[in-house]
Structure formats: C-alpha cells, structure tokens
Symmetry: C2
Amino acid sequence: MTIKPAKTMTLSDIARLAGVSESTASRALRDNPVINAQTRQKVQQIAADHQFKVNATARSLRTQKSHTIAVIILFDAKTQQAITDPFLLDILGVIADELTRQGYDMLLSTSKTTDKDWRSYYFDSKRADGLIVIGQGEHDERVEQLSNAGVPFVVWGAATGTERFPVIGSDNRQGAQLAVTHLLAQGCKRIAFLGDIRHSEIEMRYLGYQDALQAAGIQPEAKLQLNTDFTAQAGYLQTQQALFSELGSLDGIFAASDAIAMGAMKALLEHGIKVPQQLALVGFDDIAMSAYCTPSLTTVKQDTHAGGKLLVAQLLSRINGGKAASQLLPVKLIERQSSLRKE
Amino acid sequence: MTIKPAKTMTLSDIARLAGVSESTASRALRDNPVINAQTRQKVQQIAADHQFKVNATARSLRTQKSHTIAVIILFDAKTQQAITDPFLLDILGVIADELTRQGYDMLLSTSKTTDKDWRSYYFDSKRADGLIVIGQGEHDERVEQLSNAGVPFVVWGAATGTERFPVIGSDNRQGAQLAVTHLLAQGCKRIAFLGDIRHSEIEMRYLGYQDALQAAGIQPEAKLQLNTDFTAQAGYLQTQQALFSELGSLDGIFAASDAIAMGAMKALLEHGIKVPQQLALVGFDDIAMSAYCTPSLTTVKQDTHAGGKLLVAQLLSRINGGKAASQLLPVKLIERQSSLRKE
DNA sequence: GGCCATATTGCAATCGATTGCAATATGCTG
DNA sequence: CAGCATATTGCAATCGATTGCAATATGGCC
C-alpha cells in the first residue's frame, strides 16, 4: 500500500517548502500579480505536487463568505416522503449545474413546512451566503419573515405581484388558461380541476382555469375542483373516488401536475373511459415521462432550464449587492394524444 | 420597517451580555454540565433572545469537523443533463432525510465522470467529512483511488465482491434473474436486454439475464443486448430503431430501468404490438410512475429506503472510526400488467 | 552618488469558535 | 482551623487561511 502523507498539508507547510512566507504563498496560490511570476510558479508547482487544497473552512471564516447556497425544498408535513415529484428533480438538476458553473457549492435541504427555522440555521450560522427556496407551500409566513431579515434569497413559486420578496416562477395562470382553452376547443364542456389550491402556484392555475371557462361563458362548478397531492397515486385515487359520480358527465380533466394527470389517466382507462375521445386530459410541467405514456400526455411545459438559471443569477446578483427581481416565465402548451381529438 | 441588528451576533457578544467569559458562554450553549445550571440557563436565554447561532465555519475550523457529507452523483459525460432518472430522486430523498436526522448537512454535487478531482475538492479542502458516491459509472478508476487515500466514503453501485471499498447496492444479478425467469414463465422465448453494460450495475443485471436464460437452456444472443442510456427517450429510440428488425420474432424485453421500459413500451404500442400478449415487458427500479402507466409495468423493486439509510449509517460509522462494509440488498419482483399473460 | 518610484515579500492581526489548564471559590472532614 | 476535594469560571492558545501595512530590494534618473 502507498504511504500517504499522514496529515493534510496546510498553507504553512507549502510556504515552508517553497521558502516563502505564508502571505506570499497565499497570494501566489491565488495568482496575485503583485507576487513575482517565478515565485508564483514555484509555489503553485509545490502545492500541486503535494495535492494541497486550501482549507475551505478557514478561508470562509476569514473572508466571511461561504461560497455556498442552500436550496430548501419545502413540502407538506402530511406528505411524508421528501422529494417525490419528478418536476422537482428537473429544476434541482438545473440549479445544481448552474451553481457549479458559478463556483458555488450547494447545500440541499428538504424541510417540512412545520420545521424549525432554516433561515437562521443556514444563514445566521454562515453555512450559506444565500437561499433558494423551492415551493412557497401553503402561504408560508416564514418566507415573508426572511425578506425583513436581510437574508439574500429567491423563491421558486407563484409570482403574484404582491409579495415583498423576489419570486421566480412560471406564468401558472396563463398556462392553465392555455390548457383549459385548448380543452374547450377540443369540444369539452365539463372540465374538472385536480390540484390543491391551498398551494399558491396551484391557486394561480385554478384562477387560469376559471378565466378560461368564464371566457367561454361557462360557470365554474366548485365541486369539480378537488384538492389533490402532487403524486400519481393521489391523482388516481381522487379520480377513482371523488370524481366517480361525476365521470359520466365529465369530458375533460385539467390536472395541476403531470404526475397527477398520469394517475388520473390510469383510473380513467381502468374504468374503460377512452382518452381523449370520451374524456380529454391535460397536465402541467412536461416531465420527461409525459411524452412516453400512452396516450401521451398533453401538458403545459415549464421552462425549468430558464427558471433554474434565473434563480441562480438573481440570487448571486443580490448577494453581490445588486437587486433581485421577481419574474414570470412564459409557458407553452404541448399538445399530445391525451387531448387531441382528431379532426 | 423593523430595525434589525446590523451585525450578526458572535459568541463574544453573548458572553458580554451575560457577563461571563467566552469559554463559559461556549460551554453553556452546549449545555456542558461543568457550568453552573443557572449560568447555562441565563446564557441560553440571552442567546435565544438575540437569535444567536453559532458560526458553523468557526466551529468547523476549530473542531476539524464539518458535519457535512458530500453526495456525488456521477453521470456520463455524453448525457448532458445531470439528474434525470427518477430513481435517483428516490434514493437522494432518503439520504437527505437520513442525514438530516443524524444532524449532518448535505452538499450535493453532480459530476461528469470526466470532471476534475472531487475527492480533493470535497475532502482535502475539509468541505465534507465524508462522501457518498452514487453510481460507479463505467468502472471509474478514480473511485478506486479514494480507497487508498483514507477518505471516508461509501458507494451506491454494484457490489461485485471484488472491490476494495464499501459498496452498497441492490442484488442486481438476482433481480434480473427474477425478472427474466418470470418472463420465461410467462412463455417468452426470445427476450431482448436494453441497458448499457459498460455500467457496472447494468453489467450485473445482464449477467442475471444470462443466468436465467441459460438455466432454461436458452443460449443468449449477443445482438439482443443493446446499450441504452437511462432515459425513456433512449428506450423508445432503441426499440424503434435497433430492435425493429427483430420485433417480429421477439416476445419479451427486459429493460435495465423503468424509464427505459416506458420508452420501449411506447414504441411497442405505436407499432401496434400488444403488451403483454405479443410481447411481455419488465423494467427495473419500481419508480412511482411504474404503477400508473398503461399497462402498468412489471418491475424489480429496489429498496431505496433501506439503501439510503444503510449508506448513511455505514458512512457515519466509518467516520467515527469504525468500519464500513459492503452490502447487497435484496430485491423483489413486482408483477404488473406489462408481463402478466392471464392464465 | 543620492533619491525616489516600483516591485516584491513578510509581519502580525483577524475571522469566531473550542478547549486544556490554571485559578478561584466553596464546602467538608477530622 | 488547616487541608484537600469539588464546583465553577476564565486565560490564552489554537484551528488555517487572508490582508492592510510596513519593510526591503531593485532600478532608473538627474
């Protein structure tokens, strides 16, 4: 077995080996031009030879920057499992890539909305320079508090225009309107809404649903809105149970997420209901699987790529003394088989 | 607007306010019984009143522990997007929850397998006390190196029994064997394998596939093994293109992941091939969506919950001076519609 | 040769906690 | 009341880097 240096190298070791002071070594390693070019070369070479890595902790303490962003995924206490929705994975992946590109580390935390204070945990303790909060959840008052406390943070959620902190998110209302208008254009007359409107993004989608119906002169029926968790299972059960009595007269469903839509689709097909002929179905998100179920799922595509990049960009700008602004991202209707009635 | 303390509190502020020394304050905050109970009470009260949080950076520097674990998700350079497979999300969620429960923070990193050295980035720099590596990828030699360098780490991957570092993973070979034996029992004679065998977990699954065929006296055909990325799209394209000429004589497909299987299913249905009557299909993982596609997908369930907990437990044991051992987790065949030919 | 500008390097303080050891106070024993 | 054990607290060093400022060296100019 190879003998490895028992202790990890410190800057002072490198300095000694190079025959310079710690300050010179420190500057040389960061390629500070005030240091003689040859000295820099030499120090860097020695550091590389000994696999020296700057102790991030010491640096953070001294510079008062952690170069770390905490990403907090909020979820309902009742949903036990933390991260379930594939959509979260999408946006999380983009954020991770983007933070890496910008030289930041990412602390990931899933937090029950009832949990203790993650602001002070991550920010006051200097674990992170800023926060990205995913999902405002059901009007979480703690998010409001953040804005007062001088914590740099951005939220992925519903930008209603009234909140006092930067929110980036899809134009949920418009997306829902597109979806429902599309269903109406396909001839649907009675359309159910599956989604939990206590969640602010979903609330916006429900508003869009109502907009579209009213624009077509249809009065929304409250009993066609069914609170449904973000899982295929919830979509399945809700369709099978709550919608059962209505199924006969229903000819469209707008689900607040693709996962819910897929659950609903399963229930419909099991009941022998033909999709889209008897009942047309539209989801929201455009997760990867949506194109590959049968029939493939019409949905509203969220631009996760733009969203993730924007979240990171805004947060970093805020951290560097600038402002972070709310922004509404355009969405796009992706028409697939689940809603397209030929001719 | 509320006036907030301009500067964050430090231990020395608390000490001054409480009229004690920093050392007493430090001990009091951690409830060290050597400090008088009343003093402890007082200091803790003052700290709470001022929302004081210990500076994690300073503590880490002094104690030489970060109380942070880095989770590295390896992926192929060619697959651009970082985290795509829903299965990853499952296990990641479990790990996140478990680390939180144990009082550790989680640094998440997605890394192209070709990327620079994440061992030294996370460990030598003291950003993390240990590493959880997900996916050995295509025999990554860098993982081997870790074992020599005294870095506490565990791998989620294929425990072949020959590796010199702790690997925790499903019994892929057995799982595949279960799946293919099941297909054979359903009357399949000619079964294709969709999955990239350069990836060691998939290689094990391929071995299990071969085991099952040979046990039934069938000689595996090399051309029925098709390297396929972990996406529905890849499964779809591979089935549509590479398997096209064989489709007539094929009556079974074993896909190395559920995502691949769903892509394959789509292609089959588009070709008018009846699943499972003409062709039976089995996947691997048991992601949430598998139960809700139509026909629902028979698959091999990986115990992500046990896996995640075990990864964390073994790593922490290793960090605390103990040993971490490899372990093979049992899997279970979940029979659903995509492979069940009635009677 | 004297003087000043410039280039290069090092000293020492600092970031905010933790901790070994010494110091002090208190109480009990014989 | 001396003497020692115990309870409680504080001093000062330490973790490993960064950085303002001072110190020194070098070169050029008149």
